[in-house]
Symmetry: C2
Subunit: 763 residues, 2 copies
């Protein structure tokens, strides 16, 4: 297929809007008489509200409303941004209420104030008197799982949200066959998304009594449903509008502010209320990444083949379920395709603690398990004295493999080529040789790590994508999708797809970059790296339907059969020769104005995808470690991805840049810290939380191995989340290579490096 638009580095369709400030974000919406909402948060990690006195707050001039758990519906609702399930057993845990009478973490929402301005609201918060009965805070999974520990949620014995896992083959039998057994324990920390735009929503009641919520979300259609569940009202009485969004990374694949914002406007007669969280609130009161502890035991044959693996995992989900056990399950499922082995047993526990709520975050469990497994594999390779790449190549999946548990098949697989490319880019062999016998206090090392991931959630989740296309009189089109542009570039990619199918230039595709649940086609939103693949199918089908209607109309106008026609450069052409028959605009004009046959062409298409596509990739990293100071510097880093065909290389590279940067932070510096006794957050701000800056990020090398995925109309697969997944283990393995110190915990920040180096006698 000679491509005209797909595969080109088209400029983002929202580039100008964003650099000129024309793009309107939730905070840019201003309404007459708009009120400000603020939340009173628990200072205790675990406490029962014995009494609340809001009388002084209510009396403060300028305060329009004060809410406690007594004033809002007490329906329990789930918050995870998953499609609703008709099967109650498959639904997300409903453990949240809009406001609570039991604080489960420092920052839990106890009460709320609605006032005429920010200062009055802040003042009123101080006037609310709460009497707490303080309970023992359970700040680690171990503490929470301890026999006799208090229950964080009354209906959850042992504070274990779920312990379901899976097994392929019999791992104990496999271990018997193995020549070697290796065991490791590895651990990751709590980090936060730190997306540019904080959580914000604005709600009001429309004149027909419906609640309208403008919100910075990845999942407008899911927000609608969950607000309906929280308030106990029909979902059609809620309208959710998603304007431009300044990033999410999964933290906006959850319903954090919207139910409370809706309750606030209902409390003040429908006046608009804006609920904007500060950065400090965002970092503890939205979502975090689950910290995991892994125990891995692996059997290996003499010739370096993986025979069996047993992974035990404990996932710390914090005070409420949110995405809960899905994270542990998704990570455990998406990784396993990479190294098919005879037996694999995965035993994850997801445990409630009195810490901020963990939820979806870029990679959704995969960065955690990939850190563990890919570090573990390097440990084994080192012990077996095999080159870590050779070790992996012996075990990597091949095209045609079918996951024995969910039936997803590997129909395209470029992982070997990715490794070869990365090896070349970083000059692996040459540097390996050069760094063989380093002395001195600054030592260099090379590391790499692989990953596998999916494109969307099938068959676990429903994968509906929707697109509507309208053909204008001049042959240009509008495209509406229900999937959300949140900075990742999906709207641009969709425009390219439509242009490709319709044979028109990309600038003739006008994308509506915002969603409105009243009119946008249904789509569950931006998550699971699903959009280019899943929503792309709906976009392709809608465009194909429009093309078919155009050619059919042209047939009527010309008597040339539709199957002999095509569209090229916005002209109707003979398919066999490319000779121009007439401009597309002429057909378009007739679809509007032919007195007999006029019927403007649109397509309103929904696609229920029943497939998934595995993606693969690798990070290669070179580090220099200063043994005296413990400083780890990433000198070079390369990500090479098999994401199928790349629709827009520039945007794809940008995704990789972002993911690698995030991965470097995950590897070396980021961690949300809490007082070990009280659970008080210690660094929930961007000064103390060590997000890497541009000074910490080397030039990032990006490359793609373009396979063609047959289940995708354009051959493409997922790319959004993957870039972060293999970064931390690659850096960890490079440090291991440089120093011989096998780090087992993230982040490898100065304090931990110091401890480990001291332990290893390097300092």
């Amino acid at each position: 297929m000679a491509s005209t638009a797909v595969g080109k580095s088209v400029t983002r369709v929202d580039a100008v809007a964003k650099v000129t400030g024309q793009a309107k974000y939730t905070g840019d919406f201003m309404f007459r008489d708009m009120l400000v909402g603020k939340v009173l948060r628990s200072p205790y990690a675990h406490a029962i509200v014995k009494n609340i006195d809001v009388s002084q707050a209510r009396a403060l001039p300028g305060v329009e409303g004060v809410l406690t758990y007594k004033d809002v519906p007490r329906n329990k609702f789930p918050t995870a941004g998953h499609p609703y399930s008709l099967d109650p057993a498959h639904g997300d845990k409903a453990d949240r209420t809009i406001l609570t009478d039991k604080a489960r973490f420092v920052g839990d929402a106890i009460a709320a104030v609605i006032a005429r301005d920010e200062l009055t609201a802040a003042e009123a918060l101080k006037l609310i008197k709460v009497e707490y009965e303080v309970l023992e805070p359970l700040l680690t999974p171990e503490a929470a799982m301890r026999e006799g520990a208090p229950l964080i949620h009354e209906d959850c014995p042992g504070n274990i949200l779920s312990a379901s896992g899976y097994a392929i083959g019999d791992v104990d039998e496999a271990f018997k066959e193995a020549d070697y057994i290796f065991e490791d324990e590895l651990e990751t920390s709590i980090v936060q998304h730190c997306q540019l735009e904080n959580h914000i929503s604005c709600a009001y009641v429309d004149s027909d009594g419906r609640i309208v919520i403008i919100t910075s979300t990845q999942i407008p259609h899911i927000v609608r449903r969950i607000v309906g569940q929280a308030l106990g009202i029909p979902w059609g009485r809620i309208r959710v509008i998603k304007p431009y969004v300044g990033g999410g990374f999964g933290s906006k694949q959850d319903v954090c502010t919207e139910p409370l914002a809706a309750a606030m406007t209902l409390a003040v007669g429908g006046r608009p209320v804006k609920l904007e969280l500060s950065r400090e609130e965002c970092m503890i009161a939205t979502r975090t990444r689950h910290a995991f502890k892994f125990k891995i035991k692996t059997g290996v044959s003499r010739d370096g083949r993986l025979i069996g693996m047993h992974i035990k995992a404990i996932s710390n989900t914090g005070a409420y379920a949110s995405h809960g056990h899905s994270i542990a399950m998704a990570g455990g499922s998406k990784f396993r395709i990479l190294y098919p082995m005879k037996a694999l047993k995965y035993e994850p526990f997801t445990v409630y603690t009195n810490l901020p709520v963990a939820g979806a975050m870029r990679g959704y469990g995969s960065p955690q398990i990939t850190f563990a497994v890919e570090s573990h594999l390097d440990n084994i390779a080192s012990k077996l004295n095999i080159d870590p790449i050779e070790f992996r190549l012996k075990n990597l999946v091949k095209e045609g493999y079918v996951d024995p548990l969910n039936g997803n098949a590997v129909r395209s697989c470029g992982i070997r080529e990715c490794i070869a490319r990365g090896k070349e880019l970083i000059k692996w062999d040459e540097k390996k040789a050069r760094y063989k016998n380093q002395t001195g206090s600054r030592r260099r090392g090379l590391g790499m790590a692989c990953f596998s991931y999916g494109s969307g959630t099938y068959p676990v989740g429903l994968e509906i994508g929707g697109a509507r296309i309208v053909l204008n009189q001049d042959g240009s089109v509008q495209l509406q999708v229900g999937a959300t542009e949140i900075g990742q570039g999906s709207d641009t990619v969709f425009a390219q797809m439509v242009a490709e199918v319709l044979g028109i230039p990309v600038d003739m595709v006008h994308v509506l970059s915002t969603q409105d649940t009243d009119i946008s086609p249904f789509d569950t939103g931006a998550y699971a790296s699903r959009q280019t693949y899943i929503t792309g199918m709906a976009v392709a089908r809608a465009a194909a339907e429009v093309k078919e209607k155009i050619l059919d109309f042209a047939w009527g106008m010309t008597d040339i059969p539709a199957h002999a026609l095509d569209i090229k450069d916005a002209n109707i052409v003979y398919k066999h020769s490319g000779e121009v028959v007439m401009p597309l605009a002429e057909v378009a004009l007739h679809t509007y104005y032919d007195t007999v046959f006029a019927k403007p062409i649109t397509s309103d298409t929904s696609n229920n995808a029943r497939v998934n596509a595995f993606v693969f990739g690798v990070t290669f990293a070179e580090v220099e470690v200063d043994l005296k100071t413990g400083r780890i510097e990433v000198l070079e880093i390369y990500n090479v991805h098999d994401s199928g065909r790349i629709i827009n290389r520039q945007l794809a590279a940008a995704q990789v840049h972002g993911g690698v940067g995030m991965g470097i932070g995950y590897a070396l510096s980021e961690q949300l810290l809490f007082d070990e006794k009280t659970g008080q957050p210690l660094n929930n701000n961007l000064l103390d939380y060590k997000l890497p800056t541009i000074m910490d990020i080397p030039a990032i090398g990006v490359d793609f191995v373009e396979t063609f995925e047959p289940t995708s109309p354009f051959g493409c697969k997922a790319l959004g989340e993957p870039p972060i997944i293999p970064v931390a283990p690659a850096i960890r393995n490079a440090v291991f290579d440089a120093t011989g110190v096998a780090f087992d915990r993230l982040p490898m920040n100065p304090q931990r490096v110091f401890e480990k180096f001291k332990e290893a006698g390097l300092i």
Copy 2:
């Protein structure tokens, strides 16, 4: 059909939004850095711009741009709100440019200023120096048609825009057969719409270079096309948004401000510019109603049958064509079905003059010709000494009649029942007897007049309606239409139609009350009383498609065949028994979330209507005339309409109230006046222009004769414009009845009454 929603007096869907002020009109849109546009208007009715010096205006601080005809595209474009025609011969006259170098009426747009605020803009206008060569103003059709008169438009010889008419049979032959011949000359005046909200639009350039125009219009999709023609750019590069609109009456079925607003934003780098006309500007620089002069000659048989009629008409279209000759033709065509006769010849001339531009206004030519014909018929009845009602009844059309020229058929006709009802309401016979021999200076009289009209414009115009319906998870729906709610209540009626077809309560239909050409279904807009009938067909089809999809989905869920199912009160029921099978919401939920069959239900339907339906009706009026003062008081007035089945009686009555009020103004007080030498407007403001107030309007009686129109899915026909049509002649005939004075001109204002009464010796 047992109706559940259609036929009920449902409260307007926008009632609360409008009374609470939540409804957002164009003037409510505020943008950062918004500029204000203002227009320099010609003080001369006919003049050539020899020179313009804008240097001082440009130098004024706060002025961002000054435009003359040299700075804007000079493309000639039409302004009439008609669908574009593929046949150039059928297109509207393109005689307008955005700014002109030849003033053709007092108020013509010579230059424009864009400034940071209103005052600066007004100041800048004063600094523009224009040197004019003043030409002879042609202020009457007679002056314009005079041999050797200067040409208002160089390409239009004799200043006659068009003189096409029609003939049925041979009128001269018919006159030979007639027993009597009667002749009359009658005349109407220029009036103005005076809708509540002045003309206003706001334009800016979007980040992808497209022009966005928010505008108070009846015809957003047509505005898009005409702005494209005016600027000479592809129509898809323009986006038109229609918010809530405060009335139009046809003056917003024309493109008055939008091309200039677009040119203004282009002149200031795409910054938002608001162009809001004052009432004084609106009254002369938007559109007016065409003044007509008629000469009618009619042949009648001894037994009171109309044998033939010859109507000559001169229509004064003012300085530019706008809807031009369409008005004369439409009036002449829609009236003729009422009294089928052997021969009818219609010879209209539409003539340019140096007066404000006449365009579409409620009734579109029909109030004028109906005034003439219905007055003429009463003159004849009086001369023949026949009761005017009896005279009409002898000649009125019957069901089954087919218009010999356009093939439109009378498939429903309640005119006789309308007359009977009106006669009864006003107590015609009783009062006629009572007022037979009045003496004294205050005399009462009864009059009536009939009309016929169409529903839409078929076969003259294209009649496309569009509707999109989206089914929500709770069984409620959103409805989007391309047709525009401008105060007439169409959105409410559409909601009722959807509720009726789908078997759900009206409050489960959420109507999107504003249009956006990027996403709203294509529909040409609000005019020709077309919406309930034409757009209603699209709404019915879309709803039927949604229902079919729902029942089909329910079939899949239940194994009960779709044809055995129905929807009632938002439940799926057995059609034969009404027994509830399951809630509609359950089916709706499965359309979203069934893991295999999910496919959210929508319909995006376009309907190209190839039918028309005649509507009929009558006004009965009782007046008291004070012979001493010339005061005419309307004591009682009744409109009875055959508009087919009435969808919402309360809203229908409101339409009639508005139309009758407007008709009373047209009859008794309204007229735009101009200096006879210079063409300067004399009363272009709401103080001097005598719009009737509540003090001038009696209690208005409304009734409907509900026929069932078979071409309409709900049996309905047009009602929007008709109520005004027969009002003025009914009042005129009542005055004739009371005084014996046969008024031949509108309005019958004090000055004219005085003259006529003096002439008749009454004063």
